[in-house]
């Protein structure tokens, strides 16, 4: 039979069976997520900032944590005993702070255009440069730790140039210009060959560090905040004022998946788990969500007793995830095992 307008009884039965199976699968997934959420342990809260926390970064060995805050400080924390080790004072709001891959240096970026390098162990300032004429919102170390990228700007554009510095003495190495509005996120690919910048002009640019040529990723309908490469370098994830979190193919330069959101609840930050299997995001609705990167299913969804969340980072070993935001607290959240796919 070639023409089956409504399908045969067997096909219809199969379709119903498929739907039923999908329903059961969704139900089980929901129950697993719900039960995982209900079993979640209470987060450890680190108190120390008096203002919003904009960014957090964990050292590769998992020992140190640094947080950047609007109270003009960055705090270095000992992850093991949960105590602050150093308070790094600045003259302006600190919008970004990262630890280098060796765990020896910390780079911070501030609202008055400065980029500063600190000794992670002693907490002393090594070098400071007025690298930008406007606020600096993002900094990132190259995978070998030898280079540092920084970028920022203002709402009317301003200094949106991403600058590349030698991390030992902050000598400028290169500039990447072109975004029409401020740049909120910078990230190096794991091989160090690409530099990603995400901007309020709704685009992401993937720059070749050597040639300075770039490709543009378009699709977000509003400002793009932080961006992060996956550990294998094949994907990049972005968070946006349009509420969505998106995953892009680095090689093809196209959109792979959109985790939808609403404009009233912008997404501010994303991070891949160290094994690359999960993606976590936070935003204005003070929820921490994580999805499987393999099938894009929601694995956990947790509301925190706080206000908007601006920062998220995985602690290596995946024993916990770090989030922070508008209430100034830093939350270390124990990770539950991801729900098995039914």
């Amino acid at each position: 039979m070639l023409f089956r307008p409504y399908g045969s009884a067997t096909q219809a039965g199969t379709a119903i069976g498929d739907r039923l199976a999908r329903c059961v699968a969704l139900l089980i997934t929901g129950l697993l997520v719900a039960s995982a959420n209900s079993l979640e342990a209470a987060p450890v809260v680190l108190e120390g900032h008096d203002e919003y926390v904009y960014m957090t970064s964990v050292s590769l060995d998992g020992r140190l944590l640094v947080t950047a805050s609007g109270d003009n400080t960055a705090i270095v924390w000992n992850v093991a005993n949960r105590e602050s080790v150093h308070v790094l004072d600045h003259d302006a709001a600190v919008y970004a702070a990262v630890i280098d891959p060796q765990g020896k240096q910390i780079a911070t970026a501030t609202g008055d255009g400065h980029v500063t390098i600190w000794n992670a162990r002693s907490g002393t300032q090594i070098r400071r440069v007025k690298g930008h004429t406007d606020a600096v919102y993002g900094v990132a170390f190259s995978p070998d730790g030898k280079l540092l990228a920084s970028a920022g700007g203002s709402t009317n554009g301003g200094d949106t140039t991403c600058r590349l510095w030698r991390s030992d003495d902050l000598t400028k190495v290169a500039e990447f210009a072109g975004h029409s509005r401020q740049v909120y996120g910078v990230a190096f690919s794991p091989d160090g060959k690409l530099l990603a910048t995400s901007s309020s002009d709704k685009t992401i640019r993937l720059w070749d560090v050597t040639t300075r040529e770039f490709r543009t990723l378009q699709g977000h309908t509003s400002d793009v905040y932080r961006c992060r490469f996956s550990p294998d370098g094949k994907r990049i994830a972005t968070a946006s004022q349009d509420g969505s979190v998106r995953i892009w193919s680095v090689h093809a330069g196209n959109l792979e998946h959109t985790f939808e959101g609403t404009k009233n609840n912008p997404s501010y930050a994303v991070v891949f788990s160290p094994d690359g299997r999960r993606l976590a995001a936070v935003g204005d609705d003070h929820r921490l969500r994580s999805w499987s990167v393999e099938d894009f299913r929601l694995q956990s969804d947790r509301e925190l007793p706080t206000r908007a969340l601006y920062a998220v980072a995985y602690a290596p070993g995946q024993s916990h995830i770090v989030v922070a935001g508008e209430d100034g607290n830093v939350y270390l959240i124990p990770q539950v095992a991801p729900a098995a796919n039914p």
Partner: protein
Amino acid sequence: MTTKTCATLSILVLIAVTTALSFVLAEDDAPSADVVSQGEVAPAKVLPEPGSVVVDREAREILLSAKVQFPEGKPCINEFGQRIQAFAGCARAADGDAKMAGYFVFLVDVETEDVFNGLIELGCRPRVHYSIHEGRKRSGLKPETTLDDYLQGDPVVVSVLWKGKAGTWVEKPYEDFATEQVKVGDKHIEKPWTPHFVFHGSGAIHQSGTGCIACPCDCPGGIIADNRYPIYDPKPMVRFDMSKAPPPGTQVYIRIRPISSRSP
């Protein structure tokens, strides 16, 4: 039926009709104190079309078109809290999407800069304005605080008006939607929200991009602030009561009347 009986019945019917009408009117709209005009009497000469600002030089006011939204879960909505984001703000600012649009109860459909320009056109003047970055430096009351550490400008009066179910125009002062909480000794007490709103213009002059129009604290992100306190610190503890606002999706209008300074 005697004339006396007829008269008694007429009076009873009249009382019944009057009572019924008063119930209908009471259920239809907010308390009569909020009603500035009844029936089809327009509350302004011209109301703005969506996406436009009416600058009425004769009435010395600007009118903005807005929609009500319910910013569920955001600070100060139906519960006491502190926030820097305005209750009335624009969907767009500084040529982009307003960063705080999700926080506003009254979402205005023009850019913050258009609201700013409308007030300037009326002769309303900002005096002390800062970028958010500069505002943070001047935050809080300190021994070295000076007059210039407060946002300043001509005072303004803000109100919200909308058409009720039966075509009756309702207008409420902006501050009537919220209640303030203060601490007296160990006890928290409620009081009317009594802000002192001034047009400092910072959000437009320094292009903050927040979209905020009238903020419940002294914040340079918007263009109008309650400057009773120093910048950012302390923030008043307020609660916006959504039941005092019309339902989400309702078309409303924001009226801003400045008390403009005049040069000698």
